[in-house]
């Protein structure tokens, strides 16, 4: 990738370039020695501890809340209801007509009505967390129960109870984004029409560190300081200031080390705002740390979707049309800032994926139910629609007698840029190459022979593939198309050199395991020709970082990294100008080199170190010409004004099904991925492996279930099966590199691909193994019970 404004000789072009190298993580020493600082590690003088009285009913009017006995429990300092705190509601909006989108207010603490089990009704503050829990026991809340709505079918049924009075038929979002003219005729004339009806289980993104916050009022700064584990610090600041009716400058959100997020922490939670309100009331620091029971049942959930999709094919297996109906169960409230539109809009816009689909019709709906609300979760809808697309191709291949890989080969996009039927322009990727290579790796390891041998022994061994691309690097334009009222996209970065020549860089993105401290330092170090140790990243502090949209949608290196790189380049330009002025020559006659600025003609003195330049810029600024300001800092903003970039991958899985137990055992996992320039390949591989583990978890294990009364049944790790090292296989990863040409790093996002590709590949592999039976499975999680039943069915005549 060449930037138009890149200096002709660039320090990064010298030997010792860090981009593309798996340099050791700068985060590791503190995290490995117990010196990481997570939110629960924060302790402030006089700090109190909060817990929440939570609704025990899924749907009901609050008849009364009596906290008298709570306040008498030893150790309890205070207890507040919504009425006590008088907070403004959290409301996320889309700029769509009322027929398409119904905004719903999410009160910080429930007023009048509760809409899911676990909804916070009151906050109890005590001298320690144990006493706060004692306090919860003494709360007396009476409800007039209402009939709960616990599935999307119930929600959409005529005459169903309404979760929000303003949302008729319990529908928060109902959009028909595309409807190609003549699509019905396409289906009528098609050689082959296949249908997939698919459901995916409700999941918990499940960061190992639960949510939490420590809030206090800082008298000296006249600020509320809210330490919280969030992926979106500036958006939390906005909501906190609005709910608490403070100027935004009077709120400082600080994010310490974070134990994962995966999307669950990219929305604003009610509890952190309530804890902040309690801290303001009491003028004492208040800590809230979510326990695992609450995290499993009452935090933001994800993924529960229902797809009803038909695809038309010609006799050669070319797809002719796609007709989709998507319903997402969003739970009780719209999350801020994304709204309940996040999942149906993602699915509707991007479902054709890597395939050349000529005709497309889609309806996407978000329904509200009496279940915990949902947030984006790693991959957002793509794990689901990719699964459906890949099932459609497998089914068509079977009907037409084609090889499962060959039918994909005939349909993947091979000419770029490609503008799809969904009006999205795809930048160059390696869709066909990754498919071919992935198939070859599986063949080279002899898995097809092993499958034949297994079949001869009556064992059920299956091989499954999935192909997908993943839009990342969404700029403002792409998010604006969704009509979000808060439009993420740009990021701002500042690079500052101090008097010793060391550099501090800020980013509005927020690492929660993705190694930003290392990769962002690699980018800056390369740009300026510095050693890695000379660069330090500041993130997650709204007072230190100008503005940013945090980390989600794999936007960190693509957008945030680009802002970082431009800011570093600007600082480099200033250093060159200073050196040129000191040498009484033109900036064009000097250039950055490793550790300083050199004269192109090599005349004496040929070189000034950054330390020397920094010393002059700050401590002897009288040496600078009038037109150069003292100090060394530069700020840059980066945004993308097209459809974003697309990383892509092909995954292959080999599974064996066990007839006696119904267990699905993964024997092999191969991933060929292309995320453009990999700043740190080891970090990219880590993202792939972790993502694949979460994808397998969704395919085979994890599900949040509710009973008919809306009571969640998985409230501990005894009931919610998170896979361990036993269930997650080693993964072979092969990288391809098609650089992004319109951002500054050449990188495409790498955070979500694993999670997107795994469910489809696993489901296809299971179905491949089930070929001797009459059964095809289209739902996840694939339970042992389902597999056992399929394998032990009497053959149908």
């Amino acid at each position: 990738m060449t930037r138009p404004d890149a200096p002709k000789t660039h320090p990064a072009d010298d030997k010792g370039r860090l981009t593309g190298r798996s340099v050791a993580r700068r985060e590791d020493p503190r995290l490995l020695s117990g010196r990481g600082r997570f939110v629960d590690d924060i302790a402030l003088p006089g700090m109190l501890h909060a817990q929440f009285v939570r609704s025990t009913v899924a749907h009901g009017e609050i008849a009364s809340v009596d906290l008298t006995a709570v306040r008498e429990v030893p150790g309890v300092v205070a207890a507040f209801t919504a009425e006590d705190l008088e907070l403004t509601d959290i409301t996320a909006e889309l700029g769509r007509p009322r027929s398409e989108f119904v905004p719903t207010a999410m009160p910080v603490l429930a007023r009048d009505r509760v809409r899911y089990v676990g909804e916070p009704v009151a906050i109890v503050v005590a001298r320690d967390a144990y006493a706060a829990e004692d306090g919860l026991e003494a709360a007396k809340v009476r409800y007039t129960t209402l009939p709960p709505v616990t599935s999307e079918n119930e929600a959409l049924a005529p005459g169903a109870p309404l979760v929000h009075e303003e949302a008729t038929r319990n529908t928060l979002v109902d959009v028909s984004l595309f409807a190609t003219e003549g699509i019905d005729e396409v289906f009528d004339a098609a050689e082959c029409v296949v249908h997939v009806e698919s459901r995916t289980g409700r999941q918990n993104a499940l960061p190992l560190e639960t949510r939490g916050a420590v809030a206090h009022w800082d008298d000296r700064e006249e600020q509320l300081v809210l330490n919280t584990c969030t992926q979106v610090p500036h958006q939390v600041r906005t909501v906190a200031s609005r709910c608490l009716r403070l100027d935004e400058r009077a709120v400082r959100v600080v994010v310490p080390d974070m134990g994962g997020g995966f999307g669950q922490k990219c929305v604003v939670g009610r509890e952190e705002i309530a804890a902040a309100a309690a801290a303001l009331r009491l003028r004492r620091p208040v800590k809230w740390i979510e326990d695992r029971k609450d995290a499993l049942s009452a935090s933001f959930l994800a993924r529960e979707q229902h797809y009803d999709v038909r695809a038309a094919f010609d006799a050669d297996g070319h797809i002719l049309g796609l007709d989709a109906d998507v319903v997402c169960d969003m739970g009780a409230y719209s999350c801020y800032p994304f709204t309940a539109g996040i999942e149906p809009l993602m699915a509707s816009a991007e479902m054709p994926g890597v395939y050349k689909v000529p005709a497309y019709r889609v309806r996407g709906r978000a329904v509200t139910t009496n279940k915990a609300p949902t947030a984006p979760y790693r991959g957002v809808s793509r794990p689901q629609y990719v699964m459906v697309m890949e099932r459609l191709f497998e089914r068509a291949a079977r009907e037409l007698g084609l090889d499962a890989v060959e039918i994909r080969r005939r349909n993947v996009i091979t000419e770029f840029p490609y503008t799809g039927v969904n009006n999205i322009t795809y930048d160059p990727g390696s869709y066909l190459e990754s498919l071919d290579l992935c198939e070859r790796l599986v063949k080279d390891e002899g898995w097809y022979e092993k499958q034949a041998a297994a079949a001869a022994e009556g064992r059920y061994l299956g091989i499954g593939y999935s192909c997908f691309s993943e839009r990342t690097g969404y700029g403002s334009t792409a998010f604006a198309q969704r009509k979000m009222q808060v439009v993420p996209g740009f990021d701002i970065s500042e690079v500052r050199m101090d008097t010793s020549g060391a550099v501090t860089v800020t980013s509005g993105t927020m690492s929660h395991g993705q190694s930003h401290e290392t990769t962002f330092a690699q980018i800056v170090a390369d740009e300026l020709g510095l050693e890695l140790g000379k660069v330090k990243l500041h993130q997650g502090d709204t007072d230190r970082v100008t503005y940013g949209y945090g980390t989600f949608a794999s936007r960190s290196v693509t957008i945030g990294g680009s802002a970082v790189r431009i800011a570093a380049a600007k600082l480099g330009e200033k250093l060159c100008r200073i050196a040129a002025a000191l040498w009484e020559t033109e900036p064009a006659e000097v250039e950055l080199t490793r550790g300083g600025v050199r004269r192109k003609d090599g005349s004496d003195p040929a070189f000034l170190t950054y330390e020397e330049l920094a010393d002059i810029a700050y401590l002897r600024a009288h040496l600078l010409p009038r037109d150069i300001e003292p100090g060394l800092s530069a700020t840059a903003t980066f945004d993308v004004f097209n459809d974003g970039t697309f990383s892509n991958a092909t995954h292959a899985v080999v599974v064996e099904l066990h007839q006696g137990t119904g267990q699905v055992e993964i024997l092999r996992y191969v991933c060929v991925e292309d995320c453009g320039v990999a700043i740190n390949p080891q970090v990219v591989e880590g993202q792939c492996r972790g993502g694949i583990a979460q994808g397998i978890a969704g395919a085979l294990f994890e599900q949040v279930t509710y009973d008919a009364q809306g009571e969640p049944s998985a409230t501990s790790f005894m009931d919610y099966k998170v896979p361990t090292a036993h269930e997650i296989p080693d993964v072979l990863i092969h990288h391809l590199e098609t650089p992004c040409t319109f951002n500054e790093t050449g990188a495409k996002g790498a955070g979500e691909g694993g999670t997107i590709g795994a469910p489809a590949a696993v489901l296809n592999a299971v179905n491949d193994a089930l070929r001797p039976t009459a059964v095809e499975l289209d739902h996840t999680p694939i339970t042992p019970e389902t597999v056992h039943r399929a394998l032990n069915l009497e053959p149908t005549s």
Binding site: L32, V683, A725
Partner: protein, 179 residues
């Protein structure tokens, strides 16, 4: 232990070779006392019901869930936490910690202290552990970031290096003995 008024206990805990006196309620868990009373915050809390293993510490050299023990139960035992692994004088990481960084065996780092203490206790007991045995032990704890592969590789690589180091020392001793 001594019982005080207000149902408080005076405990003496030996943590990382140091004696600590703590006044606490009998119901307080070991992990809360370590984290909040002794301010050894390296040990983390992930589930409070013994499944995730983020709170794993060594109690008399064996891995134990600090969320499933009352602090009072740990009196008289030798407790070791993640803070004990690096060189106390220089802060230099030990071989197991270095192996985790070399293999990218951590991402967010929240579960990491638990895995380190699990592995430290296990390798002390079974230095000859195979990679499969290591994988089996690693399955005791949950990680949400890595997919486990690099954790298993980090521990296996450390065990292999320790054995090679040991073999070298033994060979050297034998050679000396022979000469």
């Amino acid at each position: 232990m001594t019982t005080t008024p207000d149902n408080l206990l005076l405990l003496t805990l030996n943590v990382n070779g140091e004696e600590h006196e703590v006044i606490t309620e009998p119901r307080r868990t070991l992990v809360d006392v370590l984290r909040h009373d002794l301010r050894l915050t390296g040990t983390h809390v992930g589930c409070e019901h013994g499944i995730c293993g983020a709170c794993t510490v060594l109690v008399d050299d064996r891995p134990a869930r600090a969320c499933l023990m009352f602090a009072a139960q740990a009196e008289g035992a030798r407790i070791r936490t993640v803070e004990s692994l690096a060189d106390p004088a220089t802060g230099e990481l030990n071989d197991l910690q270095r192996s985790f960084t070399e293999h990218h065996g951590l991402q967010c780092g929240f579960c990491t202290p638990g895995f380190l203490m699990l592995a430290d206790g296990f390798l002390a007991e079974r230095p000859e552990a195979t990679k499969e045995e290591i994988r089996e032990v690693v399955a005791a704890n949950l990680c949400r970031c890595t997919g486990y592969q690099t954790i298993v590789e980090a521990i296996d690589s450390c065990a292999t290096a320790r054995r090679a180091g040991c073999a070298k020392t033994c060979t050297a001793i034998e050679e000396t003995a022979c000469s």
